[in-house]
Point group: C2
C-alpha cells in the first residue's frame, strides 16, 4: 500500500537526494524563491511587529551566530530563524504555492541561512536543501488540503514546519532515520490558526514554523527520537489535520515532479484575488486623460471569490487594506502603483484615497475566472473607459519575469533596508549555486 | 449566548482574579500541585532526554536568568521553561486532571518559576498564577474533550499552553485585553500529537507548551496583538481541535468551582489504570510466605480498559514498561515497590523480572470499575492468595495524602538530585504562600 510509511519514504527521499538529481529549471526556480524570500524579509524587517518581537525575544538571545536580515542585531540560530521568517511574511508579499495557497519560503529558508552562518554551507547545498524543504511542505499540504485550511489551520505555519525541518535536516546531513525523526518533531510541533490572520499573532505562527522546524532537525541530529509514522500514524498529523486526507500526495512522483515549479511570487503585497484588478487599474491609469480625482465611479466585475474575500470599503489600517478591493483600486488609479508604500497606514488615511475608495463597487460574474477581472472607470463628464485582464500578473498563466522579480526586490530593499546594494544582492542570489559560502548572502543584507 | 466571547470572558476572569478570592482548599491543592511538580522535575532532571535536550539547546541559551531544576546549568527564561517542563513530565509521574486526563503542572509551572527568577514574584503571587493557569488549561480541555484526544491531540501540550500563557500573563500583571492576546498567542501555537508518546519527541510538545505559553504572555505584554476570539472563533482553536465542542465548559461556574480540586498525583510513575493492580500486588507481597520466585502464575482481573491499554508482556525499555501490566505486577511482587527505579531499562532487563512477567495474565471484567482490580497469585505448591482493591491510590476516591506526596518527592529527589535537602524543600513549598521570594524554591533545587 502506497500509504504505508509515507513519513519514512519522504524522509528517505530527502536524505538521499543528490544535487545532480535536481533539474536545471527546478534549481532556477529555487534561486528565484530565495531571491523573493530575501527581498520580502528586507521589506518587512522594519515592520512594527518586528520591532516588538525583537523587544520580546532579545532578552533571551543566545550567542550571536546568526544575522537578522536588514538589521544590525545578531542572535542565536533559533531566534534568527523565527525573526527572519516573521519579516519575510509580515508584508503579505510572499511566494505562493498555488495548489495549496501556502507561502513556503518564509518557514523553510530562515533556518538554512542561520545554519550556513553557524556551521557553514555552500550556496548549492543551501539551494538544494531549500528546494527539498519546499517540496516537503507542499506535499504534506497537498495531502491534507483543502479541508485542513477550511477547518482553521494556517497552512503556511502548520505545513511549513515540515519543510523547515526537512531542509535543515538536509543541510545537517541527517541520515534517513534521523530525517524521519526530524519530520516527527515537526509533526508534533505543527501549529497555526487562520483565526490569527489579521493580527500580529500570525507572525508567531510563521516564526515558530521556521524556528521549531530547525529545532526539530537539531534534536534529531542529536539522537532525540520521534514518532516514525508522524504523518500517517493513527494519532498522527494527518488524522488531526484533516477529515479528507490523501497520503499518496506525499509520495506520488517524488523526485520526478517538483512543487517549487508551482510556486509563484506576488507582484503586489496583497490578496492574490486582487492581482488582475490591480493590473487593470494600472493600465487604466495610463489611459486616463484627466487626473484620477475626476473619477466619478469605478465598477469591478470578477469571480464571486473576489467580492467574498475583498469587498471591504472601510479599512482601518495597512493590514486590512491588503484584503480590500476598494483600497487596491483607489491606490492603483491614484498613485499608479500598488507596492508596499500603497498598503501602509499612511496610504489608508490619505483623504484622496479615502474619497476614491467610496466610489468603488463590485459585481459577481461566475463566468469570469479567478485570475481575470474587468474594471470600468466612469468620469465626471459621463465618459468611461474599460479594461479587461484575462490573466493577472503573478498567476500561473503569467508568472513574474526575472526583471519583474528584480524590480520587486529593489522596491522591498528601498522600503525596508535602503543601505543594501540591491543589484549586487540580486546577482549573488541568482548565482547562489556557484557561491562557496552561502552566509555571504546574509552579510549582504545587513548594515556594515 | 454564553458561548460568545469565551476567550474574552476567560481572560477577564484571570486578569481580574484577586488572591483573596481563592478558597483555602484551592490554595492548599495548588501548593500540593507545585510540590508534585518540583518533585517530578527533580526525578527527571537526569533523564537521557534531558541530557540530549540540553546539548541541543545550550548553544542557543541566552543570559542566565533562570535555573534548571536539579542541574547546574542556567539559561534564559524561555529555554528554562522548556527544560523544566520536559523534566517534570519525562518520568510519567505527573499530576493528572482526572476529567481530561491532562497533566497540567508541567506546562504551567515552569514559566512562573522562570519569571520569579528573572523579574521577582512572591510565593503567593506565583501560587495564585499557578492555580489560574491550571484552571485555564483544564477548562479549555474540558470544552474539546474527549474528541480532541481521540483524534490524536496530546492534550497536556495542546491545552497546557493556554494555562502556561494565562499563568505567566497573571504574574506579569497583564490587563484583560493583553490577557486575551496571550490566550490568542497560545491558541495559534497549540500543538502536540498523541503519536509522539512513547518517543522522546513527547518532551518537545510539553516543553514547547511551557516555553511558547510564556512567550505568548511576553508578546502580549509588549503589545503584540492577537486574535481576540482565538478559542471560539470560526477559524479558532475549538474548530480545529474537536468535532464536539462545548464552549460553556470554558466559562460555567468560573470562580466558583476549581479544576485543581480534580487534580490527582500519581503514586507510581506509570499508567493510571495500573494503580489498583500495583496496590494489590504490594499488599500480596506483604502476605507472601515464600520468596516471589516461588510464584507460578498471576491472574489479574480488571476493567476492559486495563487490558486494552497495558496488556504488554514484552517490554523493550523503561519507557514501555510504564504501560505494561506484566512489568508492573512483576516488579511490585518481586521488589515490593513501584517507583522510578522499577521502571528503568535496568529493571526491565532483570532476569527475575523477565521470568515473572511471563507468568502474568489478565482477564476483562466489565463489572469492575477502572479504579479497582483483583489480583490472584498462585504459588508453586498449588496454594494461592488473592487481593481485591476497590479504590486505587492516587484516584479520586483515595487521593495521595500529604505524607504519601512527601514520600514521593523524597523518592524523586533521591533518584535524580540527591544533593537536594528534600525535607526543607517540601516545607518551603507547602508554605509557599508565606514566601517573600518565590525564586528561593528554585535555588533550593540546584547544587550549591
Amino acid at each position: 500500500m502506497a500509504e504505508t510509511g509515507v513519513s519514512r519514504i519522504l524522509a528517505g527521499f530527502v536524505a538521499g537526494s543528490q544535487w545532480r538529481d535536481i533539474p536545471p529549471a527546478v534549481r532556477r526556480e529555487g534561486a528565484r524563491g530565495l531571491l523573493n524570500y530575501v527581498g520580502c524579509a528586507l521589506g518587512g524587517c522594519g515592520d512594527e511587529a518586528m520591532a516588538l518581537a525583537l523587544r520580546v525575544l532579545s532578552p533571551s538571545f543566545g550567542p550571536t551566530q546568526a544575522g537578522i536580515i536588514g538589521r544590525t542585531e545578531r542572535c542565536d540560530p533559533l531566534n534568527a530563524a523565527f525573526l527572519n521568517a516573521a519579516s519575510a511574511n509580515v508584508l503579505e508579499y510572499d511566494d505562493t504555492h498555488l495548489p495549496t495557497v501556502m507561502h513556503p519560503a518564509a518557514p523553510v529558508a530562515p533556518g538554512l541561512f542561520a545554519l550556513a552562518e553557524a556551521r557553514g554551507a555552500s550556496g548549492a547545498e543551501l539551494l538544494h536543501a531549500f528546494i527539498l524543504g519546499v517540496e516537503t511542505s507542499c506535499r504534506v499540504g497537498d495531502a491534507v488540503m483543502p479541508h485542513h485550511y477550511r477547518r482553521g489551520a494556517h497552512i503556511t505555519a502548520t505545513c511549513g514546519i515540515f519543510g523547515a525541518a526537512a531542509a535543515a535536516g538536509k543541510l545537517l546531513g541527517l541520515d534517513a532515520v534521523r530525517m524521519n525523526w526530524a519530520l516527527g518533531h515537526a509533526a508534533t510541533q505543527s501549529a497555526g490558526l487562520v483565526e490569527s490572520l489579521g493580527s500580529m499573532s500570525k507572525s508567531i505562527g510563521v516564526g515558530n514554523a521556521a524556528r521549531n522546524g530547525l529545532a526539530g532537525a537539531l534534536f534529531a541530529e542529536a539522537g532525540f527520537t520521534a514518532a516514525e509514522q508522524a504523518i500517517e500514524g493513527k494519532y498522527g498529523f494527518a488524522a488531526v489535520a484533516s477529515d479528507a486526507v490523501d497520503l499518496n500526495k506525499v509520495t506520488d512522483g517524488l523526485g520526478e515532479t517538483w512543487e517549487i515549479l508551482a510556486n509563484a511570487y506576488k507582484p503586489y503585497p496583497c490578496g492574490v484575488v486582487l492581482f488582475p484588478v490591480i493590473d487593470a487599474c494600472l493600465e487604466l491609469r495610463k489611459r486616463l486623460a484627466v487626473p484620477a480625482t475626476e473619477i466619478a465611479q469605478v465598477f469591478v466585475r470578477g469571480h464571486p471569490l473576489l467580492r467574498e474575500r475583498t469587498d471591504r470599503p472601510d479599512v482601518a489600517d495597512g493590514r486590512s487594506a491588503k484584503v480590500s478591493l476598494q483600497h487596491s483600486v483607489a491606490i492603483a488609479l491614484l498613485q499608479g502603483a500598488a507596492g508596499i508604500a500603497q498598503f501602509t497606514d499612511a496610504a489608508v488615511g490619505d483623504p484622496a484615497v479615502q474619497a476614491l475608495r467610496a466610489k468603488v463597487s463590485a459585481q459577481d460574474d461566475p463566468l469570469i475566472p479567478v485570475e481575470a477581472a474587468v474594471v470600468e472607470v466612469k468620469l465626471a463628464d459621463g465618459s468611461s473607459i474599460r479594461e479587461h485582464v484575462n490573466v493577472g500578473r503573478g498567476t500561473p498563466g503569467r508568472p513574474m519575469s526575472d526583471l519583474e522579480l528584480d524590480a520587486k526586490v529593489g522596491e522591498c530593499t528601498a522600503f525596508g533596508a535602503p543601505f543594501v546594494d540591491a543589484p549586487a544582492l540580486i546577482a549573488a542570489i541568482r548565482d547562489i549555486e556557484t557561491l562557496g559560502d552561502a552566509a555571504h548572502i546574509m552579510r549582504m543584507t545587513v548594515p556594515v
